[in-house]
Symmetry: C2
Subunit: 302 residues, 2 copies
Protein backbone atom coordinates (compact mmCIF):
# COMPACT_ATOMS: atom_id res chain seq x y z
CA UNK A 1 0.00 0.00 0.00
CA UNK A 2 2.04 2.92 -1.38
CA UNK A 3 0.43 6.26 -2.14
CA UNK A 4 0.55 10.00 -1.58
CA UNK A 5 -2.37 11.51 0.33
CA UNK A 6 -3.09 15.19 -0.12
CA UNK A 7 -5.50 17.40 1.78
CA UNK A 8 -5.59 20.61 -0.25
CA UNK A 9 -7.75 23.08 1.59
CA UNK A 10 -8.51 26.79 1.35
CA UNK A 11 -5.46 27.90 3.33
CA UNK A 12 -3.12 24.92 3.62
CA UNK A 13 -1.76 22.21 1.39
CA UNK A 14 -0.78 19.05 3.28
CA UNK A 15 0.80 15.91 1.87
CA UNK A 16 1.64 12.54 3.42
CA UNK A 17 3.89 9.84 2.01
CA UNK A 18 2.37 6.44 2.73
CA UNK A 19 4.75 3.50 2.33
CA UNK A 20 3.53 -0.03 3.01
CA UNK A 21 0.54 1.53 4.73
CA UNK A 22 2.57 3.70 7.12
CA UNK A 23 3.17 7.44 6.99
CA UNK A 24 6.91 7.94 6.46
CA UNK A 25 7.03 11.65 5.67
CA UNK A 26 4.79 14.68 5.51
CA UNK A 27 4.75 18.26 4.34
CA UNK A 28 2.54 21.25 5.00
CA UNK A 29 2.81 24.50 3.04
CA UNK A 30 0.62 27.62 3.09
CA UNK A 31 -0.47 27.16 -0.53
CA UNK A 32 -4.18 26.60 -0.12
CA UNK A 33 -6.39 27.17 -3.13
CA UNK A 34 -7.07 30.77 -2.26
CA UNK A 35 -3.37 31.49 -2.81
CA UNK A 36 -2.98 29.48 -6.03
CA UNK A 37 -4.12 30.99 -9.33
CA UNK A 38 -6.01 29.12 -12.01
CA UNK A 39 -3.66 26.96 -14.09
CA UNK A 40 -0.96 26.94 -11.40
CA UNK A 41 -2.03 23.84 -9.47
CA UNK A 42 0.03 21.38 -11.49
CA UNK A 43 3.22 23.38 -10.95
CA UNK A 44 2.57 23.79 -7.22
CA UNK A 45 1.98 20.06 -6.86
CA UNK A 46 5.09 19.20 -8.88
CA UNK A 47 7.23 21.38 -6.61
CA UNK A 48 5.64 19.97 -3.46
CA UNK A 49 6.26 16.40 -4.56
CA UNK A 50 9.85 17.01 -5.80
CA UNK A 51 11.51 15.31 -2.78
CA UNK A 52 9.42 12.18 -3.40
CA UNK A 53 9.29 12.38 -7.19
CA UNK A 54 11.63 9.60 -8.15
CA UNK A 55 9.86 7.15 -5.87
CA UNK A 56 6.42 8.20 -7.15
CA UNK A 57 7.32 7.82 -10.81
CA UNK A 58 9.41 4.66 -10.46
CA UNK A 59 6.98 2.80 -8.24
CA UNK A 60 3.91 4.24 -10.01
CA UNK A 61 2.60 5.55 -6.73
CA UNK A 62 -0.87 7.16 -7.06
CA UNK A 63 -1.54 10.62 -5.67
CA UNK A 64 -4.93 11.01 -3.95
CA UNK A 65 -6.30 14.49 -3.32
CA UNK A 66 -9.27 15.73 -1.30
CA UNK A 67 -10.57 19.03 0.02
CA UNK A 68 -11.33 22.39 -1.57
CA UNK A 69 -8.99 21.55 -4.46
CA UNK A 70 -12.02 19.77 -5.95
CA UNK A 71 -14.32 22.80 -5.64
CA UNK A 72 -15.37 25.17 -8.39
CA UNK A 73 -12.53 27.48 -7.37
CA UNK A 74 -9.94 24.66 -7.23
CA UNK A 75 -8.06 22.67 -9.84
CA UNK A 76 -10.98 20.76 -11.27
CA UNK A 77 -14.59 20.88 -10.10
CA UNK A 78 -15.13 17.32 -8.94
CA UNK A 79 -18.77 17.90 -8.08
CA UNK A 80 -20.57 16.00 -5.34
CA UNK A 81 -21.65 12.42 -4.81
CA UNK A 82 -25.37 12.54 -4.02
CA UNK A 83 -26.53 10.89 -0.82
CA UNK A 84 -27.56 8.32 0.27
CA UNK A 85 -24.32 6.38 -0.27
CA UNK A 86 -22.80 3.38 1.43
CA UNK A 87 -19.34 3.98 2.88
CA UNK A 88 -17.97 1.49 0.35
CA UNK A 89 -19.39 3.59 -2.50
CA UNK A 90 -17.90 6.75 -1.02
CA UNK A 91 -14.52 5.00 -0.91
CA UNK A 92 -14.84 4.22 -4.63
CA UNK A 93 -15.91 7.75 -5.61
CA UNK A 94 -12.56 9.17 -6.82
CA UNK A 95 -12.21 10.64 -10.28
CA UNK A 96 -9.02 10.70 -12.36
CA UNK A 97 -7.50 14.13 -13.00
CA UNK A 98 -6.01 14.69 -16.47
CA UNK A 99 -2.59 16.35 -16.25
CA UNK A 100 0.71 16.53 -18.08
CA UNK A 101 2.48 14.95 -15.11
CA UNK A 102 3.60 11.30 -15.49
CA UNK A 103 1.70 10.24 -12.37
CA UNK A 104 -1.73 8.85 -11.51
CA UNK A 105 -3.71 11.71 -9.99
CA UNK A 106 -7.02 11.15 -8.23
CA UNK A 107 -9.53 13.60 -6.80
CA UNK A 108 -12.23 12.93 -4.20
CA UNK A 109 -15.55 14.69 -4.95
CA UNK A 110 -17.61 16.10 -2.11
CA UNK A 111 -20.84 14.74 -0.70
CA UNK A 112 -24.17 16.44 -1.24
CA UNK A 113 -27.60 16.14 0.25
CA UNK A 114 -29.77 17.17 -2.70
CA UNK A 115 -32.99 18.17 -0.98
CA UNK A 116 -34.43 21.61 -1.51
CA UNK A 117 -35.04 22.35 2.17
CA UNK A 118 -32.08 20.53 3.70
CA UNK A 119 -29.55 20.97 0.90
CA UNK A 120 -26.09 20.41 2.31
CA UNK A 121 -22.53 19.91 1.12
CA UNK A 122 -19.22 18.71 2.53
CA UNK A 123 -15.82 18.50 0.94
CA UNK A 124 -12.87 16.90 2.71
CA UNK A 125 -14.70 15.71 5.82
CA UNK A 126 -15.96 12.68 3.88
CA UNK A 127 -12.40 11.27 3.85
CA UNK A 128 -12.10 11.76 7.61
CA UNK A 129 -15.53 10.20 7.99
CA UNK A 130 -14.44 7.05 6.14
CA UNK A 131 -11.47 6.80 8.47
CA UNK A 132 -13.35 7.66 11.65
CA UNK A 133 -15.90 4.94 10.95
CA UNK A 134 -13.04 2.46 11.29
CA UNK A 135 -11.36 4.13 14.30
CA UNK A 136 -14.27 4.71 16.64
CA UNK A 137 -17.75 3.37 17.25
CA UNK A 138 -20.22 6.19 17.75
CA UNK A 139 -23.77 7.12 16.89
CA UNK A 140 -22.87 10.58 15.60
CA UNK A 141 -19.62 11.77 14.01
CA UNK A 142 -18.89 15.45 14.57
CA UNK A 143 -16.26 17.40 12.62
CA UNK A 144 -15.80 20.68 14.53
CA UNK A 145 -14.49 23.60 12.52
CA UNK A 146 -15.38 26.63 10.43
CA UNK A 147 -18.44 24.77 9.21
CA UNK A 148 -18.96 21.91 11.68
CA UNK A 149 -20.46 18.76 10.22
CA UNK A 150 -22.63 16.24 12.08
CA UNK A 151 -23.16 12.86 10.48
CA UNK A 152 -25.36 10.08 11.84
CA UNK A 153 -24.69 6.95 9.77
CA UNK A 154 -27.00 3.97 9.90
CA UNK A 155 -26.44 0.28 9.30
CA UNK A 156 -28.02 -1.66 6.45
CA UNK A 157 -26.90 -5.26 6.78
CA UNK A 158 -23.12 -5.24 6.56
CA UNK A 159 -23.04 -1.75 5.07
CA UNK A 160 -22.75 1.61 6.80
CA UNK A 161 -24.89 4.14 4.96
CA UNK A 162 -24.78 7.94 5.00
CA UNK A 163 -28.08 9.50 4.05
CA UNK A 164 -27.96 12.93 5.65
CA UNK A 165 -25.84 15.41 7.58
CA UNK A 166 -26.04 18.92 8.99
CA UNK A 167 -23.69 21.87 9.09
CA UNK A 168 -23.32 24.47 11.85
CA UNK A 169 -21.39 27.65 11.07
CA UNK A 170 -19.97 27.73 14.59
CA UNK A 171 -16.33 28.40 13.73
CA UNK A 172 -17.07 30.99 11.07
CA UNK A 173 -19.45 32.91 13.38
CA UNK A 174 -16.81 32.91 16.10
CA UNK A 175 -14.21 34.40 13.77
CA UNK A 176 -16.65 36.92 12.28
CA UNK A 177 -17.77 38.17 15.67
CA UNK A 178 -14.26 38.47 17.07
CA UNK A 179 -12.65 40.01 14.01
CA UNK A 180 -15.32 42.14 12.39
CA UNK A 181 -18.16 42.90 14.82
CA UNK A 182 -18.69 45.57 17.43
CA UNK A 183 -18.77 42.75 20.00
CA UNK A 184 -15.13 41.96 19.28
CA UNK A 185 -13.93 45.55 18.86
CA UNK A 186 -11.28 46.69 21.29
CA UNK A 187 -10.63 43.29 22.85
CA UNK A 188 -7.13 42.69 24.17
CA UNK A 189 -5.04 40.24 22.18
CA UNK A 190 -5.32 37.47 24.69
CA UNK A 191 -4.74 33.83 23.93
CA UNK A 192 -5.46 32.49 27.41
CA UNK A 193 -8.49 30.25 27.48
CA UNK A 194 -10.87 31.22 30.29
CA UNK A 195 -12.56 27.98 31.27
CA UNK A 196 -15.05 29.69 33.60
CA UNK A 197 -16.26 32.07 30.90
CA UNK A 198 -16.37 29.21 28.38
CA UNK A 199 -18.43 27.08 30.79
CA UNK A 200 -20.82 29.93 31.47
CA UNK A 201 -21.37 30.41 27.71
CA UNK A 202 -22.05 26.70 27.20
CA UNK A 203 -24.44 26.50 30.17
CA UNK A 204 -26.42 29.50 28.96
CA UNK A 205 -26.76 28.02 25.48
CA UNK A 206 -27.91 24.74 26.99
CA UNK A 207 -30.42 26.22 29.41
CA UNK A 208 -31.27 29.84 28.58
CA UNK A 209 -34.74 30.76 27.41
CA UNK A 210 -33.28 33.49 25.23
CA UNK A 211 -32.19 32.84 21.66
CA UNK A 212 -28.66 33.08 20.30
CA UNK A 213 -29.46 36.26 18.36
CA UNK A 214 -30.22 37.97 21.70
CA UNK A 215 -27.57 36.36 23.87
CA UNK A 216 -24.69 37.27 21.54
CA UNK A 217 -25.15 40.93 22.47
CA UNK A 218 -24.12 40.12 26.03
CA UNK A 219 -20.54 39.99 24.75
CA UNK A 220 -20.89 43.75 24.53
CA UNK A 221 -23.43 44.78 27.17
CA UNK A 222 -21.97 42.65 29.97
CA UNK A 223 -18.53 43.97 29.14
CA UNK A 224 -19.72 47.59 29.15
CA UNK A 225 -21.46 47.11 32.50
CA UNK A 226 -18.59 45.24 34.12
CA UNK A 227 -20.03 41.71 34.29
CA UNK A 228 -17.66 40.14 31.72
CA UNK A 229 -13.96 41.06 31.64
CA UNK A 230 -12.67 41.96 28.18
CA UNK A 231 -10.11 39.13 28.49
CA UNK A 232 -12.95 36.59 28.89
CA UNK A 233 -15.13 37.66 25.95
CA UNK A 234 -13.53 35.32 23.38
CA UNK A 235 -13.87 32.27 25.64
CA UNK A 236 -17.45 33.17 26.52
CA UNK A 237 -18.32 33.53 22.82
CA UNK A 238 -16.69 30.20 22.05
CA UNK A 239 -18.69 28.49 24.80
CA UNK A 240 -21.90 30.18 23.69
CA UNK A 241 -21.48 29.06 20.07
CA UNK A 242 -20.30 25.50 20.80
CA UNK A 243 -23.08 25.18 23.39
CA UNK A 244 -25.58 26.34 20.78
CA UNK A 245 -24.27 23.75 18.31
CA UNK A 246 -24.73 20.98 20.88
CA UNK A 247 -28.18 22.25 21.84
CA UNK A 248 -29.33 22.02 18.24
CA UNK A 249 -27.74 18.58 17.96
CA UNK A 250 -29.56 17.44 21.09
CA UNK A 251 -32.88 18.33 19.51
CA UNK A 252 -32.37 15.81 16.74
CA UNK A 253 -30.78 12.90 18.50
CA UNK A 254 -31.33 10.59 21.42
CA UNK A 255 -29.85 11.55 24.78
CA UNK A 256 -28.00 8.23 24.72
CA UNK A 257 -26.41 8.81 21.30
CA UNK A 258 -22.63 8.79 21.63
CA UNK A 259 -20.43 11.26 19.77
CA UNK A 260 -17.08 10.91 18.04
CA UNK A 261 -15.34 14.28 17.78
CA UNK A 262 -12.97 14.22 14.82
CA UNK A 263 -10.44 17.02 15.07
CA UNK A 264 -7.44 18.49 16.86
CA UNK A 265 -6.80 19.93 20.30
CA UNK A 266 -7.47 22.48 21.67
CA UNK A 267 -10.78 22.61 19.77
CA UNK A 268 -11.69 19.00 20.58
CA UNK A 269 -10.90 19.67 24.26
CA UNK A 270 -13.40 22.52 24.22
CA UNK A 271 -16.02 20.32 22.58
CA UNK A 272 -15.35 17.60 25.17
CA UNK A 273 -15.90 20.10 27.97
CA UNK A 274 -19.14 21.22 26.34
CA UNK A 275 -20.23 17.59 25.89
CA UNK A 276 -19.65 16.91 29.58
CA UNK A 277 -21.79 19.93 30.48
CA UNK A 278 -24.48 18.67 28.08
CA UNK A 279 -24.18 15.17 29.59
CA UNK A 280 -23.18 13.75 26.23
CA UNK A 281 -20.81 10.80 25.97
CA UNK A 282 -18.03 11.70 23.55
CA UNK A 283 -14.65 10.42 22.39
CA UNK A 284 -12.01 12.13 20.29
CA UNK A 285 -10.60 10.84 17.01
CA UNK A 286 -7.42 12.58 15.92
CA UNK A 287 -8.03 14.44 12.64
CA UNK A 288 -4.91 13.21 10.87
CA UNK A 289 -5.49 9.59 11.94
CA UNK A 290 -9.02 9.77 10.55
CA UNK A 291 -7.84 11.43 7.34
CA UNK A 292 -5.09 8.89 6.64
CA UNK A 293 -7.35 5.94 7.48
CA UNK A 294 -9.88 7.38 5.07
CA UNK A 295 -7.27 7.67 2.33
CA UNK A 296 -6.25 4.05 2.99
CA UNK A 297 -9.83 2.97 2.33
CA UNK A 298 -9.93 5.09 -0.81
CA UNK A 299 -6.64 3.64 -2.03
CA UNK A 300 -7.84 0.10 -1.38
CA UNK A 301 -10.94 0.79 -3.50
CA UNK A 302 -9.12 2.33 -6.48
Amino acid sequence: MNFIAIDWGSSQLRAWRIEKGACTAQQCVPQGIKFVGSGQHEAVLRTLLAPWWEWIVTAEVPVLMAGMIGSDSGWLDSGYQALPQAASAISRGCIAVPSSLPIQLWLRPGLALRQKERANVMRGEEVQLLGALDCAQADIYVFPGTHSKWVKPFHRGEEIVINAFSTAITGELYQLLLQHSLLGAGLPREDAFDVQAFTRGVEESLHSEEGLINRLFYARSRRLLGYLPATAVASWLSGTLIGEELTQLARHSLATDTLALVGDAPLTDHYLTACRLAQRQATVVDAQTAMLNGFRRIYAAL
Copy 2:
Protein backbone atom coordinates in the same frame (compact mmCIF):
# COMPACT_ATOMS: atom_id res chain seq x y z
CA MET B 1 -40.35 75.62 22.58
CA ASN B 2 -37.06 76.48 20.82
CA PHE B 3 -34.15 74.08 20.81
CA ILE B 4 -31.61 72.21 18.70
CA ALA B 5 -31.90 68.43 18.68
CA ILE B 6 -28.84 66.39 17.78
CA ASP B 7 -28.54 62.68 17.12
CA TRP B 8 -24.80 62.08 16.98
CA GLY B 9 -24.22 58.45 16.08
CA SER B 10 -21.30 56.30 15.04
CA SER B 11 -21.47 57.23 11.36
CA GLN B 12 -23.77 60.24 11.05
CA LEU B 13 -24.33 63.53 12.79
CA ARG B 14 -27.88 64.84 12.43
CA ALA B 15 -29.26 68.13 13.72
CA TRP B 16 -32.75 69.62 13.75
CA ARG B 17 -33.75 73.22 14.42
CA ILE B 18 -36.96 73.26 16.46
CA GLU B 19 -38.79 76.61 16.52
CA LYS B 20 -42.01 76.97 18.46
CA GLY B 21 -42.14 73.20 18.61
CA ALA B 22 -41.85 72.66 14.85
CA CYS B 23 -38.84 71.50 12.86
CA THR B 24 -37.83 74.38 10.57
CA ALA B 25 -34.49 73.12 9.29
CA GLN B 26 -32.22 70.10 9.49
CA GLN B 27 -28.72 68.98 8.61
CA CYS B 28 -27.03 65.63 8.24
CA VAL B 29 -23.27 65.26 7.82
CA PRO B 30 -21.07 62.13 7.78
CA GLN B 31 -19.22 63.17 10.93
CA GLY B 32 -20.18 60.35 13.27
CA ILE B 33 -18.01 59.78 16.33
CA LYS B 34 -15.84 57.22 14.58
CA PHE B 35 -14.65 60.00 12.25
CA VAL B 36 -14.11 62.67 14.93
CA GLY B 37 -10.97 62.59 17.02
CA SER B 38 -10.82 63.22 20.74
CA GLY B 39 -10.98 66.95 21.51
CA GLN B 40 -12.50 67.80 18.11
CA HIS B 41 -16.18 67.52 19.01
CA GLU B 42 -16.62 71.13 20.07
CA ALA B 43 -15.18 72.43 16.79
CA VAL B 44 -17.29 70.06 14.70
CA LEU B 45 -20.43 71.14 16.54
CA ARG B 46 -19.57 74.83 16.19
CA THR B 47 -19.18 74.45 12.43
CA LEU B 48 -22.38 72.44 12.12
CA LEU B 49 -24.38 75.04 14.02
CA ALA B 50 -22.85 78.06 12.25
CA PRO B 51 -25.95 78.76 10.07
CA TRP B 52 -28.13 78.86 13.22
CA TRP B 53 -25.55 80.39 15.57
CA GLU B 54 -26.91 83.90 15.95
CA TRP B 55 -30.38 82.58 16.75
CA ILE B 56 -29.01 80.04 19.26
CA VAL B 57 -26.90 82.57 21.14
CA THR B 58 -29.38 85.45 21.02
CA ALA B 59 -32.43 83.44 22.03
CA GLU B 60 -30.42 81.23 24.44
CA VAL B 61 -31.60 78.13 22.64
CA PRO B 62 -30.41 74.91 24.31
CA VAL B 63 -28.68 72.19 22.31
CA LEU B 64 -29.75 68.63 23.21
CA MET B 65 -27.59 65.71 22.13
CA ALA B 66 -28.16 61.96 22.19
CA GLY B 67 -26.56 58.86 20.69
CA MET B 68 -23.04 57.49 20.65
CA ILE B 69 -21.65 60.97 21.35
CA GLY B 70 -22.29 60.11 25.01
CA SER B 71 -20.37 56.83 24.91
CA ASP B 72 -16.88 56.20 26.21
CA SER B 73 -15.53 56.89 22.72
CA GLY B 74 -17.59 60.08 22.27
CA TRP B 75 -17.30 63.61 23.61
CA LEU B 76 -18.09 62.88 27.23
CA ASP B 77 -19.01 59.52 28.74
CA SER B 78 -22.51 60.21 29.96
CA GLY B 79 -22.92 56.76 31.49
CA TYR B 80 -26.25 55.03 31.80
CA GLN B 81 -29.41 55.60 33.78
CA ALA B 82 -30.12 52.33 35.59
CA LEU B 83 -33.52 50.73 35.09
CA PRO B 84 -36.25 50.63 36.25
CA GLN B 85 -37.15 54.23 35.38
CA ALA B 86 -40.42 55.98 34.72
CA ALA B 87 -40.63 57.71 31.33
CA SER B 88 -40.82 61.03 33.15
CA ALA B 89 -37.49 60.30 34.89
CA ILE B 90 -35.90 59.32 31.59
CA SER B 91 -37.05 62.66 30.16
CA ARG B 92 -35.30 64.44 33.02
CA GLY B 93 -32.06 62.47 32.73
CA CYS B 94 -29.95 64.94 30.71
CA ILE B 95 -26.59 66.09 31.98
CA ALA B 96 -24.96 69.45 31.22
CA VAL B 97 -21.80 69.34 29.10
CA PRO B 98 -19.05 71.81 30.06
CA SER B 99 -17.66 73.58 26.99
CA SER B 100 -16.11 76.86 25.95
CA LEU B 101 -19.09 77.60 23.69
CA PRO B 102 -21.54 80.28 24.86
CA ILE B 103 -24.48 77.88 24.61
CA GLN B 104 -26.35 75.48 26.89
CA LEU B 105 -25.28 71.99 25.90
CA TRP B 106 -27.10 68.89 27.17
CA LEU B 107 -26.31 65.23 26.75
CA ARG B 108 -28.69 62.27 27.16
CA PRO B 109 -27.12 59.28 28.94
CA GLY B 110 -28.00 55.77 27.83
CA LEU B 111 -30.21 53.29 29.66
CA ALA B 112 -28.81 50.19 31.33
CA LEU B 113 -30.26 47.02 32.74
CA ARG B 114 -27.77 46.25 35.50
CA GLN B 115 -28.35 42.54 36.03
CA LYS B 116 -25.50 40.10 35.72
CA GLU B 117 -27.32 37.63 33.49
CA ARG B 118 -29.47 40.03 31.47
CA ALA B 119 -27.13 43.03 31.39
CA ASN B 120 -28.18 45.31 28.56
CA VAL B 121 -27.53 48.80 27.24
CA MET B 122 -29.09 51.25 24.81
CA ARG B 123 -27.98 54.68 23.72
CA GLY B 124 -30.09 56.87 21.46
CA GLU B 125 -33.12 54.59 21.22
CA GLU B 126 -34.31 55.87 24.61
CA VAL B 127 -35.09 59.25 23.00
CA GLN B 128 -37.09 57.57 20.24
CA LEU B 129 -38.80 55.47 22.90
CA LEU B 130 -39.95 58.57 24.79
CA GLY B 131 -41.38 59.92 21.55
CA ALA B 132 -42.91 56.65 20.38
CA LEU B 133 -44.76 56.23 23.69
CA ASP B 134 -46.66 59.41 22.77
CA CYS B 135 -47.15 58.57 19.06
CA ALA B 136 -48.42 55.02 19.21
CA GLN B 137 -50.11 52.69 21.67
CA ALA B 138 -48.46 49.29 21.64
CA ASP B 139 -47.49 46.53 24.04
CA ILE B 140 -43.94 46.22 22.70
CA TYR B 141 -41.77 48.89 21.07
CA VAL B 142 -39.24 47.52 18.58
CA PHE B 143 -36.29 49.52 17.24
CA PRO B 144 -34.95 47.52 14.27
CA GLY B 145 -31.34 48.11 13.35
CA THR B 146 -27.77 46.97 13.85
CA HIS B 147 -28.66 46.04 17.42
CA SER B 148 -32.45 45.83 17.51
CA LYS B 149 -34.06 46.77 20.80
CA TRP B 150 -37.34 45.44 22.17
CA VAL B 151 -38.95 47.29 25.03
CA LYS B 152 -42.12 46.26 26.85
CA PRO B 153 -43.15 49.13 29.11
CA PHE B 154 -45.69 48.68 31.87
CA HIS B 155 -48.10 51.04 33.56
CA ARG B 156 -47.88 51.99 37.21
CA GLY B 157 -50.75 54.31 37.95
CA GLU B 158 -50.30 57.33 35.67
CA GLU B 159 -46.71 56.47 34.94
CA ILE B 160 -45.21 54.40 32.16
CA VAL B 161 -42.24 52.45 33.51
CA ILE B 162 -39.37 50.79 31.68
CA ASN B 163 -37.81 47.97 33.67
CA ALA B 164 -36.20 45.77 31.04
CA PHE B 165 -35.36 45.39 27.37
CA SER B 166 -33.60 43.00 25.03
CA THR B 167 -31.20 43.41 22.15
CA ALA B 168 -30.94 41.26 19.03
CA ILE B 169 -27.87 41.62 16.84
CA THR B 170 -29.94 41.08 13.70
CA GLY B 171 -28.58 43.93 11.61
CA GLU B 172 -24.97 43.40 12.55
CA LEU B 173 -25.16 39.66 11.80
CA TYR B 174 -26.69 40.44 8.41
CA GLN B 175 -23.86 42.80 7.51
CA LEU B 176 -21.17 40.45 8.86
CA LEU B 177 -22.47 37.48 6.90
CA LEU B 178 -22.86 39.39 3.65
CA GLN B 179 -19.60 41.31 3.84
CA HIS B 180 -17.14 39.01 5.58
CA SER B 181 -18.34 35.40 5.54
CA LEU B 182 -18.00 32.59 3.03
CA LEU B 183 -21.82 32.66 2.77
CA GLY B 184 -21.67 36.11 1.23
CA ALA B 185 -18.56 35.58 -0.88
CA GLY B 186 -19.01 36.01 -4.62
CA LEU B 187 -22.56 37.35 -4.45
CA PRO B 188 -23.60 39.71 -7.24
CA ARG B 189 -24.04 43.32 -6.21
CA GLU B 190 -27.79 43.26 -6.34
CA ASP B 191 -30.05 45.71 -4.62
CA ALA B 192 -33.35 44.16 -5.72
CA PHE B 193 -35.34 42.86 -2.77
CA ASP B 194 -36.58 39.32 -3.44
CA VAL B 195 -39.82 39.06 -1.50
CA GLN B 196 -40.18 35.33 -2.13
CA ALA B 197 -36.73 34.54 -0.76
CA PHE B 198 -37.32 36.88 2.18
CA THR B 199 -40.66 35.21 2.95
CA ARG B 200 -39.10 31.77 2.77
CA GLY B 201 -36.38 32.82 5.22
CA VAL B 202 -38.94 34.23 7.67
CA GLU B 203 -41.18 31.16 7.43
CA GLU B 204 -38.29 28.83 8.09
CA SER B 205 -37.21 30.80 11.14
CA LEU B 206 -40.77 30.74 12.43
CA HIS B 207 -41.40 27.05 11.84
CA SER B 208 -38.17 25.11 11.28
CA GLU B 209 -36.99 22.56 13.81
CA GLU B 210 -33.38 23.43 13.00
CA GLY B 211 -31.54 26.19 14.81
CA LEU B 212 -30.19 29.39 13.30
CA ILE B 213 -26.59 28.20 13.58
CA ASN B 214 -27.48 25.32 11.21
CA ARG B 215 -29.87 27.09 8.89
CA LEU B 216 -27.47 29.94 8.08
CA PHE B 217 -25.29 27.50 6.14
CA TYR B 218 -28.11 27.04 3.63
CA ALA B 219 -27.10 30.43 2.21
CA ARG B 220 -24.10 28.53 0.87
CA SER B 221 -25.21 24.93 0.39
CA ARG B 222 -28.51 25.74 -1.33
CA ARG B 223 -26.72 28.16 -3.62
CA LEU B 224 -24.03 25.58 -4.50
CA LEU B 225 -26.68 22.96 -5.26
CA GLY B 226 -28.94 25.29 -7.26
CA TYR B 227 -31.84 25.70 -4.83
CA LEU B 228 -31.21 29.39 -4.04
CA PRO B 229 -30.17 31.86 -6.77
CA ALA B 230 -27.16 33.99 -5.86
CA THR B 231 -29.32 37.11 -6.40
CA ALA B 232 -31.73 35.93 -3.67
CA VAL B 233 -29.21 35.10 -0.93
CA ALA B 234 -29.24 38.55 0.70
CA SER B 235 -33.04 38.67 0.88
CA TRP B 236 -33.20 35.11 2.22
CA LEU B 237 -30.64 35.95 4.91
CA SER B 238 -32.55 39.08 5.86
CA GLY B 239 -35.77 37.07 6.19
CA THR B 240 -34.02 34.36 8.18
CA LEU B 241 -32.54 36.83 10.67
CA ILE B 242 -35.64 39.02 11.07
CA GLY B 243 -37.74 35.87 11.38
CA GLU B 244 -35.40 34.62 14.09
CA GLU B 245 -35.71 37.92 15.95
CA LEU B 246 -39.50 37.67 15.89
CA THR B 247 -39.41 34.01 16.94
CA GLN B 248 -37.39 34.87 20.02
CA LEU B 249 -39.72 37.79 20.72
CA ALA B 250 -42.72 35.49 20.43
CA ARG B 251 -41.32 33.25 23.15
CA HIS B 252 -41.41 36.06 25.69
CA SER B 253 -44.64 37.82 24.89
CA LEU B 254 -48.32 37.12 24.48
CA ALA B 255 -49.60 36.29 21.01
CA THR B 256 -51.95 39.24 21.36
CA ASP B 257 -49.20 41.75 22.20
CA THR B 258 -49.13 44.50 19.60
CA LEU B 259 -45.89 45.91 18.23
CA ALA B 260 -44.79 49.42 17.32
CA LEU B 261 -41.89 49.32 14.84
CA VAL B 262 -39.87 52.51 15.21
CA GLY B 263 -37.69 53.04 12.16
CA ASP B 264 -37.48 53.87 8.48
CA ALA B 265 -38.52 52.15 5.28
CA PRO B 266 -37.50 49.84 3.69
CA LEU B 267 -36.45 48.10 6.92
CA THR B 268 -39.80 48.69 8.65
CA ASP B 269 -41.57 47.32 5.55
CA HIS B 270 -39.56 44.12 5.88
CA TYR B 271 -40.40 43.86 9.57
CA LEU B 272 -44.09 44.46 8.76
CA THR B 273 -44.00 41.62 6.24
CA ALA B 274 -42.34 39.36 8.81
CA CYS B 275 -44.92 40.39 11.44
CA ARG B 276 -47.77 39.47 9.07
CA LEU B 277 -46.19 36.05 8.52
CA ALA B 278 -45.84 35.65 12.29
CA GLN B 279 -49.45 36.80 12.75
CA ARG B 280 -48.32 39.73 14.84
CA GLN B 281 -50.21 43.01 14.83
CA ALA B 282 -47.77 45.84 14.15
CA THR B 283 -47.75 49.51 13.28
CA VAL B 284 -44.89 51.72 12.13
CA VAL B 285 -43.68 54.87 13.87
CA ASP B 286 -41.40 57.00 11.72
CA ALA B 287 -37.94 57.17 13.31
CA GLN B 288 -37.52 60.94 12.99
CA THR B 289 -41.01 61.64 14.31
CA ALA B 290 -40.26 59.49 17.35
CA MET B 291 -36.85 61.09 17.85
CA LEU B 292 -38.14 64.68 17.68
CA ASN B 293 -41.11 63.91 19.93
CA GLY B 294 -38.66 62.40 22.39
CA PHE B 295 -36.50 65.51 22.31
CA ARG B 296 -39.61 67.64 22.87
CA ARG B 297 -40.30 65.70 26.06
CA ILE B 298 -36.68 66.08 27.13
CA TYR B 299 -36.76 69.82 26.43
CA ALA B 300 -39.99 70.19 28.40
CA ALA B 301 -38.35 68.47 31.38
CA LEU B 302 -35.15 70.55 31.37
